[in-house]
Symmetry: C2
Subunit: 345 residues, 2 copies
Amino acid sequence: MEPPASPRRVTIVDVARHAQVSTTAVSKVLRNAYGASPEMRAKVRRAIEELGYRPLAAARGLRGRTYTIGVMLPDIRNPFFPEILDGVTGCLADTDYQVLLGPGCNGEKEEARVTEAMIDRGMDGLVLVAPVSPRARLEHVASVVPTVVIGRHSHSPKYDSVADDDVAGAALVVGHLAALGHRRIAHIEHHETDPTRIAEMPNAQRADGYRQAMRDLGLHEGIDVVSTSYTQQGGYEGAKELLARRPRPTAIFAGADIVAMGVLEAVSEAGLSVPGDLSVAGYDNTTFAALGQISLTSVDQAGREIGRNAARLLLERIEDRGKTSVQVKLSPTLVARRTTARPAG
Amino acid sequence: MEPPASPRRVTIVDVARHAQVSTTAVSKVLRNAYGASPEMRAKVRRAIEELGYRPLAAARGLRGRTYTIGVMLPDIRNPFFPEILDGVTGCLADTDYQVLLGPGCNGEKEEARVTEAMIDRGMDGLVLVAPVSPRARLEHVASVVPTVVIGRHSHSPKYDSVADDDVAGAALVVGHLAALGHRRIAHIEHHETDPTRIAEMPNAQRADGYRQAMRDLGLHEGIDVVSTSYTQQGGYEGAKELLARRPRPTAIFAGADIVAMGVLEAVSEAGLSVPGDLSVAGYDNTTFAALGQISLTSVDQAGREIGRNAARLLLERIEDRGKTSVQVKLSPTLVARRTTARPAG
DNA sequence: CGGCCGATGGGTAACGTTTTCCATCGGTGG
DNA sequence: CCACCGATGGAAAACGTTACCCATCGGCCG
């Protein structure tokens, strides 16, 4: 009575038979390959339509491509990453490629597992967003499959990279606060331990950019950096420490929005008001920052633009694996909101 | 000088040769299949280790499984979904299965594209989180590949479903507000148009639960529902409308946290204070809600538990595609925070 | 008119696994 | 001692697609 559970998938053979041509011909049409006349293409396309044929990626992957791009995000929770993803998918929407994401992975081990899994699944290209793995690991991945790395300030000949200019971003914040009249501007950074990564990571760049901007503005004496981590907890602890200073800083530049959230919590707990007693700025311009209740001054990284560039570079590299690597550096912009104002007094 | 770009991947044949056995034997070991002695297993495993062999999922998929589970999330931005994802990956961590995510897809068309893509890629099972596609579509997917649906209150014989008891969740909120002394408790719902979906969608259930709870508590006259959408904008507009009522409601139950964010914005714009002039509650207990600056009373859906259940059911269904379908309904809990209090006067 | 060439179409061997057999072998019950 | 049996191992045929190469066929050039 019931139709059989799995009515066997339509294959390229079915299409070929239905269109009265060879499987080779169908394959050529599928790939827009050379060697098929317009009439043939039309005939085959009709047959594909009529039969509802869809090529099986696994089978394609065995010989050619899987038409799949893998994107590795370090943390799904970070509201900055969806922007990047939108840029990537947007750029790939008109192509035959399909984007698949790895599950959030924090830590080298998880990263390795996910990248391996993607390679095993024959992905045609990988986009690694803010990976924490050492550079050698990234280069190994890139030697196996076309790869674009987002958010690392590295210049590898093996892969392309796209990143924001974090030094400039930090300078924007410092400049903004200084223009408001702040002198004692403190910074909360993410503590980096691994020496092989230290120069490449955005957090290090932001801290460097902060120091440099302070010096450039003649605020050398106001430099004050606390090392915790890019988490809400890290922001809370960092702020606790900074609020105990005498004299107290009049502004805190948190290295990430989530850090700023922790700062705001500590500040409110201390009975101080923002921006009356203290200005606070974040980084990433996440959804949090834009919320009316928070309205956090932050740095916007143009995530969509980053994603778009990454996708474009990846497609180019898939077409020509030997091409010389490219580094794209984009300029962030400042979004001033209600957590920053002139210092009191 | 340089090693060749792609030093050919290690295949099962290499392993077989290295271990001096047949490829069949290696395959058996890989799949823990019957017909291999302990010594043989040890020998093969050693060879795998020494050669760093990893099976190619694409090739496996052609005959057997790809050991890949696809998870479709409707919107990466919604901070509730990562919880579910954690539950799924956690449950699958000890297995050979790898989770891959579809990119955020809002709308039926995108959903169809992503599910098709996953099927084409030979995924062994699918987890669909809060899909908006009509039921017939879901059943079609489920007939092709083992599927678990999260967040739809449907009872299909073709797929398992896991959902929260949204009626109970709404009752928790109403009960909480009523216990605080509120009588005029308004609700902002997501407007559902499609009649085939209406009973299944969580938003409809929440609205129903709200009405029912109000009646049960004798607050029939206080029932007031505004239909907008589950977005910040929807919350903003809905609140505008509700704040214009005379008498004004003393509490607003937003159908989702993101809606509550819009409500808070409108309330603050109107010069009213929360919870002094108005209590506000959300739903989903997202990261937003927990932020100290927001501290929104919300309903926690135990996302991790949902994900865990979904993964478990999916594994069972992969093992036995014919098994009768199961519906799991979990109980939400209320998280009272600082946006709800006794009404003034 | 013969040879060559570009355009078109197809035959067939991969690709790396799993699956379905079949063979062997030592032991065991009759 | 023979037939049978469970345990073990392997040969070979799938799986659905693409890549490589060859065949054919007009037309065109010399």
